[in-house]
């Protein structure tokens, strides 16, 4: 009954979202980025579970909450292999891998202090210029940034 033991490790969800397959070292970044500390619904956070695909993984289960598109885009920046499971009435009604949009608006801060986006009250815009390894380029100053340089707003 190894399967049921695995399931017991985290409580079952009636309605809500499970973010699965988050690399362990990125788990708490995802938690803080999504500002899950401010959510009042019940949350289960698990880490360092074994994963065949990525070694060690983290899982986040949020009851009665469904992530918006821009939140999923943010997750894609730091945990591109994560999957989203939408649960309704204890059943997975939707399961999908995260994909990063080609254009990211208002998500990343440009690391060029001389960029107009850091000096005007305006929304930042980035283009994904390479996916593996990730590189995004500022729409305004054209500075490219790799994933370790990315600061999420």
């Amino acid at each position: 009954m190894t399967n049921s033991k695995k399931e017991l490790a985290v409580a079952a969800l009636e309605n809500g979202t499970v973010i699965d397959r988050i690399p362990s070292e990125q788990l708490f970044k995802v938690v803080s980025m999504l500002r899950l500390d401010t959510i009042t619904d019940s949350i289960t956070i698990g880490n360092n579970f074994g994963s065949k695909k990525i070694g060690k993984k983290g899982i986040i289960k949020v009851a009665d909450y469904f992530f918006k598109d821009e939140e999923i885009n943010k997750i894609a920046l730091i945990a591109p292999q994560a999957t989203i499971n939408v649960i309704r009435d204890y059943k997975v009604v939707e399961k999908y891998s995260i994909t990063l949009h080609d254009k990211l608006c208002g998500i990343i801060r440009c690391n060029n202090p001389k960029c107009i986006s850091n000096n005007e009250p305006m929304e930042t815009v980035f283009h994904v210029t390479r996916r593996e390894p990730l590189e995004v380029t500022c729409h305004y100053c054209n500075r490219p940034m790799e994933s370790h340089e990315i600061e999420i707003l």
């Binding site: 001389k114 960029c115 107009i116 986006s117 009250p121 500022c138 305004y140 100053c141």
Partner: protein, 305 residues
């Protein structure tokens, strides 16, 4: 013709570049035309640049347009803390075209998104300066009769030099061969070498500024090696005289070779080169006038023959 801003040389196609070159040629034959009669054009220089501003303002004047603007942010409302957006919104109420230079990178792109009239980027920090690139292209086209299959040798500061990066990208349409001559600290950045690889453009890197390199060039594009770019001043002292062009070094060069420089020069081209017919940097600056006349007409959708 459609009205469109010109923010980056990468925004325009090969065909548009060729069209601009043809128009520049036509303006050189006849620079005084009153096609901007009744139009008001703003030159907003948030950072002083006398050379570029005078060139643009001469272009407007020779086309019969009128100019408003400022030549230094200290005399504009941005010194009172007004945002760029508000300045652009206000000025675009008054004029038909805004020509702007700004110390912040991406400023012209942002301005083009909030403005109701076209924007010409006259330089945004270390980012883009498309009219400089157009005058470089026009100078090459005019002196070589073509832009195709040329040997372009770039010398000096290839790391921070915005003009060489834009020229490299613009020339990529025309099957060039590049030679990059620079000290290790100022080498052509990796991203531009990747760009060359992706476009199947051959390039060769040299640390030595030798006659062998000069003798195969069609265009020698010189840039300034600035002391403040070096982290190691010993290194600067060692290389500062290595990338200077003297007249004697041109003895075995090709007859069609021309020496270009975006100016201002400090000491990277010795004064004895000036009298050599292959020295082209002063005419190059003059070509800026015609290239800018062509750009102004393009963004305003004015057709000229």
């Amino acid at each position: 013709m459609k009205k469109e801003s010109l923010v980056s040389i990468n925004d325009i196609s090969k065909e548009e570049i060729i069209d601009l070159l043809e128009k520049a040629k036509s303006f050189e034959e006849n620079p005084n035309r009153r096609v901007l009669e009744g139009k008001v054009i703003a030159t907003l220089f948030f950072e002083p640049s006398t050379r570029t501003r005078l060139s643009f303002e001469t272009a407007v004047n020779r086309l019969g347009g009128r100019i408003i603007g400022f030549s230094d942010a200290a005399t504009s409302s941005s010194s009172k803390g007004e945002s760029l957006k508000d300045t652009i919104m206000m000025v675009s109420n008054y004029v038909d075209l805004i020509i702007m230079r700004h110390y912040l990178e991406g400023a012209a792109r942002y301005a083009s998104e909030v403005s109701s009239v076209p924007i010409i980027n006259a330089g945004d920090g270390a980012n883009q300066h498309p009219s400089q690139t157009m005058l470089d292209l026009y100078s090459i086209y005019k002196t070589q009769g073509t832009l195709e299959n040329l040997n372009i040798t770039m010398v000096g500061d290839l790391k921070y030099g915005r003009t060489v990066h834009s020229l490299l990208q613009a020339m990529s349409h025309f099957h060039p061969t590049f030679h990059f001559v620079a000290p290790d600290e100022l080498k052509m950045p990796q991203e531009y070498k990747i760009f060359c690889d992706e476009h199947n453009i051959p390039y060769y890197e040299h640390r030595e500024f030798s006659e062998e390199v000069i003798n195969q060039a069609d265009i020698l594009y010189m840039t300034r090696v600035q002391r403040e770019r070096f982290t190691d001043l010993m290194e600067y002292e060692r290389v500062k005289n290595v990338y200077i062009l003297h007249n004697s070094m041109l003895a075995g060069s090709k007859p069609n070779l021309r020496v270009l420089h975006p100016l201002p020069r400090v000491n990277e081209i010795a004064y004895d080169v000036d009298d050599n017919p292959k020295a082209y940097y002063f005419q190059q600056a003059k070509n800026g006038l015609f290239a800018r006349q062509a750009i102004i007409c393009k963004v305003l959708g004015i057709d000229v023959d």
